[in-house]
């Protein structure tokens, strides 16, 4: 009965504002991400993209505004609860457990969503209910053969893939991807785009990315941030034509112009 008229968006951001001293990093940002959409947020360096993600995950508290996830106000909900509610995040700067194996990393993410961890006796590395889903997530991002390798010994591209595998292993309803292609070569980027296109079939995604080619290839809608303010939001074609966007990106990204 609840969702009879218009389907409520999965993520709603209302007038979100974050100030650091005199700098307004998020200036009354509002945006909505309906279920199933891949929504990209782009903007020049310093536009406040990472600040926005940090507020969505709960690492930063906004000065004003509200965040609603699946109808519930999560503005003041702590980081770990948001993850439990189904909001998963991958980090811009790879943030993994370097002294664990790849499989251990993903198994921890599975464990985080398999009840409490006040279990003191059984060897967690031998629990099939943790290892099997972790292996599946690794297979999915193409790291199946690297499961036992210590994360410190994986390549940069593999770290990025592992980031996604960990986010997936929490069985999220929505993925927040903070520059998943950062530092990747063209081949690796192409592989990541293929993977995101697949994930898009079943997950709602908010993608922050510098790689314009990838953004225009993947996004259903795009929001453009400049100095913490939303200057445009809409379908990729509309964004490409938008004069204000072209001005903001002039000299920085030609890709927007000829797409």
């Amino acid at each position: 009965m609840r969702r009879c008229a218009v389907a409520e968006p999965l993520l709603q951001i209302e007038a979100l504002t974050k100030r650091f001293g005199g700098v307004v990093a998020s200036d009354a940002i509002s945006l909505e991400v309906p279920r199933g959409e891949l929504h990209a947020v782009i903007g020049p360096n310093g536009a406040g993209k990472t600040t926005l993600i940090a507020q969505l995950t709960g690492e930063l508290a906004p000065n004003a505004g509200r965040i609603r996830f699946d109808g519930a106000d999560i503005t003041a909900v702590p980081v770990y609860r948001r993850s439990q509610l189904g909001l998963a995040r991958s980090f811009q700067v790879t943030s993994l457990f370097l002294d664990f194996s790849a499989l251990d990393n993903v198994a921890l993410a599975v464990q985080a969503h398999a009840g409490h961890s006040f279990r003191f006796w059984r060897n967690a590395r031998r629990e099939p209910e943790l290892r099997a889903p972790a292996r599946a997530a690794l297979e999915r991002v193409g790291l199946g053969s690297r499961a036992e390798v210590l994360v410190a010994n994986l390549s940069h591209g593999e770290h990025r893939q592992l980031e996604i595998a960990m986010a997936l292993a929490t069985r999220p309803r929505m993925l927040l991807l903070d520059e998943p292609m950062a530092g990747m070569g063209p081949e690796e980027s192409a592989r990541m785009v293929r993977m995101l296109r697949e994930l898009k079939q079943e997950l709602t995604i908010l993608l922050i990315e510098h790689d314009m080619e990838a953004v225009f290839a993947l996004a259903d809608r795009i929001t453009v941030l400049v100095y913490g303010r939303v200057i445009a939001s809409g379908a990729p074609d509309a964004i490409r034509q938008n004069a204000e966007v072209r001005e903001a990106y002039l000299g920085e990204q030609q890709v927007v112009a000829h797409g």
Binding site: V79, F100, L108, W121, L130, E148, V149, L150
Partner: protein
Amino acid sequence: MTPMVNARNLVVAALLAFLLLLPVYAGVTGNPFLLTLFTRIVILALAATSLNLILGYGGMVSFGHAAYLGIGGYAIGILASEGITSGFVQWPVALIVSALVALIIGLFCLRTRGVYFIMITLAFAQMVYYVAAGLARYGGDDGLTIYRRSQFDGLNLSNKPTFYYLCLALLLGTIFLVWRLVNSRFGLVIQGARSNERRMQSIGFPTFRYRLTCFVIAGTLCGLAGALLANHTDFVSPAMMYWTRSGDLIVMVVLGGMSSTFGPLIGAVALLVLEEALSGLTEYWQIILGPLLLLVVLFARGGIDGLLEAASLRPRLGGGADAKVRRG
């Protein structure tokens, strides 16, 4: 996978065999001093094992761990001086009080990180130290003599070999417990929080409550060591929780090998035997011990156990060096 028979396992097995047979040797040679020394070593190894749980696996560098030695010890001493000598009362009290104090200290300390955590644990331990020194009724600065060891039916703690074996059994039990703990779901959360706490929260772990639980478990186990130490020396005083004692425990863990199952035991044996041997040679034994410790910290980051492990792996290094997963 390392083979079952390797340098590290051989050393650990030899050490355990030595510890098990020591009372026999002491009995045959009629050398009670060795048994007294090793009873102390075994007890402090238990304390170091408990510290390793938070320091090695949890990354919580507590500079106040000796406080629980004192609390466990004073629980025994105070109850004994009030005429309560039953171990079935004394020991649970020692454990519960240690756990409660660890809970209170942990609630404050675990909100801080790094150097602040070190300093605040030290500050709390010094507070406990001064509280003990202020207990005029129980000897204050001078300490408190325990005239009767804890009474257990069918177990005479005044019998040296019996007491030694009790300490050894509790040490081995604790090592086993910690080993199970660090490989359980709980232990992986603790180690994950050491490695990257921010990421742990972002994948959905409320890390604070797990780290606090770990802190309390470690404090309780160290309280047990304190109860043993009080019975061993028949005496408690504030000195048993002075900050240098906390430092000794850290040295044992680092010397033996952080986050290694038998590391704290190896470290306790190495440090205390070395201390004993060197102090027999010269009055200035610390001048020799200091540089030795420095060498270990600089060149063997995994401590003695790390060196042994490296020696065990060397013939196989050509193979899957990157497949080596750090084991608990």
